[in-house]
Symmetry: C2
Subunit: 292 residues, 2 copies
C-alpha cells in the first residue's frame, strides 16, 4: 500500500476538530477564537504533504497547551466506562460464537467507531450489533487466522480510549484460541485527542492480563515514546509474529508496511479512498499492494 | 430577531467550501493548496464578528480571482436547466392545489435546498415531494397571506441559481392570486458562489413576466449593486408592501428586519440555532422578536 499523505481537505477538518474539542470543554467564545487563530497560524506554517496524524498531533498539542488541560480527559474516562459496562455481553457474544476470532475482530472494528476526531457522532452499541453480521468490505480474517496459528507473539497497536476495551477482548480471544502468550500493546505516550494511553490501558484491565505488557509509542509529544514511523519501531514490529494495528491513525502512519493487519472502519472520505473501502465499512486488511 | 454573526465554526466551513469549489472545477492539487493557503491568510486577516455572507463573499471572490474564472458558472446553468425541466409539473401542482399560495411557498422553500455553500449534497425533486406535505417548523404563511391581500407591490430577494425557477412560480402565483402587478426581484450584481444574477434571472424567464423588474444588490463585488445592509436598501424595502427574502444568506444579512418574510431551509447548525428551527426544516417566518 501507499503511504497516506494529507489532503487539503484535512486542513479545515483539523480546525473543525479543534473547535469541537473546545465546545466539549465549554471554552468561552473569545478563547475559542484566539486558540483557533493560533491553530490556523500553525497550520499555515506547516508543510501539508505529511501523514495526517502528524498535523493532528500538533494541532491537538497546541490546543492543550493553550487550554492548560486536556479537553478529552473526561470523555475518555466515560468512553472506557461505557465500553466496560458492555464488556460482559460482548465477551459472552464472542465465547458463544461459532467463530470467536472473527466475532472478536468484528467487535474490535466496531469499537473503532468510538472517536472524537473525524466525527463525534457515533453509536457504539448500534455499531456492534451491525458489525457482528454485516459483510466485510475487505476481509483479511482468513489470513489473520493463518498468521495467528503460527504465532507465539502478537503486537497490537491500540487506537482510542473506549475502543481499547474491545481490543482487550480481541487479545483475550487470541490468547484463548491460539495460545499466544506474549502480547505487547502499543499505547500512546502522550494525551493527544482520545488516543489510548497507559492510563486507559490500566483503566480497562489490560494490566491484569499476565501475558500482556504495554509499549509507549509516540504521538507527537516530547518523550511520548518510540515513533511509529522510525526504523526502531520497524525492528520492534519485526520481533513479533503477528502485528495488528487498530484504527485510522495507525493506518495513516503505517499503511506502507505490508505485513500488518489493519482493523478499522474508515471515518472520512480521504481515508476511505486510500483504504479502498467506504466510510463506515468493516475493514480487516493486510497491506497487500493488490488492494490498491 | 438578532443580527446573525459568524461563529468560529464558519471559518473551517468556508475553507471546505473553497476546496469543494476547486474540486468541482477540477483544479490541480498544487493550485488547490496554494489557493487554500491564500484563503486561510485572508480569513486570518479578517475580523470574525461579521455576518457570515460577508466573509463568504470575500473567500469566493478570492477563489475566482486566483482561478481566473467562475468555478460555479457551469453548475449554475445546469441547476437552472434541471429546475426548468421540473417547472411544468411544479406549476400544475400549484394550480391544482387547494391552497396555491402555500404550495408555491413550500416549493420555493424546497428550491432553497439547491446550494453549493453549506452542502452540495442535495436532492431537489425529493425535497419538493417532501416539502409539499411536511409540517412547517415555523409557519408564517397566514401572516404572509394577510400581507399579500393588501399588497400592490412585492419585493423578492432571490438566493441561488436553480432555486430562482421556484421563485418565479411563487411570484406568478402571487400575481394570479392577489393581483399584485408590481414585483421587483433582487438578484446579485456579481457572480459569487451560486448566487443568482441577472443572467440567471433571464435564463429562467423572469424577464418575460411584464410585471417584474430586476434590482441588483451587492454581494461583495465592486459595483455589484446596492448593499443589503445599507440604509439605502432599507428605503427600497420600505417602498414595497410585502418583502420576501429567500435563503440563508439573505436571512444572515437581514434577520434584524422584522417586517421581512424569510423563506428558507436552514442548512447548517449555526444558522439553524439562530432561526430556531432544525437543519433541513421548512421555514416561513416573519422577523418577530418572539421567535428568539
Amino acid at each position: 500500500m501507499q503511504r497516506v499523505r494529507m489532503n487539503v481537505e484535512c486542513v479545515p477538518c483539523l480546525q473543525r476538530q479543534a473547535i469541537e474539542a473546545m465546545r466539549m470543554g465549554r471554552v468561552d467564545d473569545e478563547s475559542t477564537e484566539r486558540i483557533l487563530r493560533a491553530a490556523i497560524g500553525a497550520l499555515s506554517a506547516m508543510q501539508w504533504n505529511e501523514r495526517p496524524p502528524i498535523l493532528a498531533q500538533r494541532i491537538h498539542a497546541l490546543l492543550r497547551d493553550h487550554l492548560g488541560y486536556d479537553p478529552y480527559y473526561g470523555i475518555k474516562k466515560r468512553c472506557n466506562e461505557s465500553a466496560l459496562e458492555l464488556y460482559p455481553v460482548l465477551a459472552s457474544t464472542v465465547s458463544s460464537s461459532q467463530d470467536p476470532l472473527v466475532s472478536a475482530v468484528r467487535i474490535a472494528i466496531a469499537g473503532n467507531i468510538i472517536d472524537f476526531g473525524p466525527t463525534s457522532d457515533f453509536d457504539f452499541e448500534g455499531t456492534v450489533k451491525d458489525f457482528l453480521t454485516r459483510p466485510f468490505a475487505l476481509d483479511g480474517t482468513p489470513e489473520l487466522k493463518t498468521s495467528l496459528e503460527d504465532a507465539s507473539s502478537v503486537l497490537l497497536l491500540a487506537d482510542n480510549a473506549g475502543e481499547i476495551v474491545c481490543d482487550r477482548l480481541l487479545i483475550e480471544t487470541i490468547h484463548e484460541t491460539y495460545g499466544v502468550s506474549d502480547v505487547r500493546v502499543a499505547i500512546k505516550g502522550g494525551p493527544i485527542l482520545n488516543d489510548a494511553t497507559e492510563e486507559d490501558w490500566r483503566d480497562v484491565g489490560f494490566n491484569e492480563l499476565g501475558y500482556c505488557t504495554p509499549l509507549r509509542v509516540g504521538n507527537g509529544e516530547m518523550t511520548s515514546g518510540i515513533p511509529r514511523e522510525s526504523n526502531a519501531f520497524r525492528h520492534v514490529m519485526d520481533s513479533y509474529d503477528t502485528v495488528i494495528a487498530k484504527g485510522q491513525g495507525n493506518y495513516e502512519m503505517l499503511s506502507e508496511n505490508e505485513d500488518i493487519f489493519f482493523l478499522l472502519t474508515p471515518k472520512c472520505p480521504v481515508l476511505a479512498e486510500s483504504v479502498g473501502a467506504p466510510v463506515g465499512s468493516l475493514v480487516c486488511t493486510r497491506g497487500h499492494k493488490s488492494t490498491r
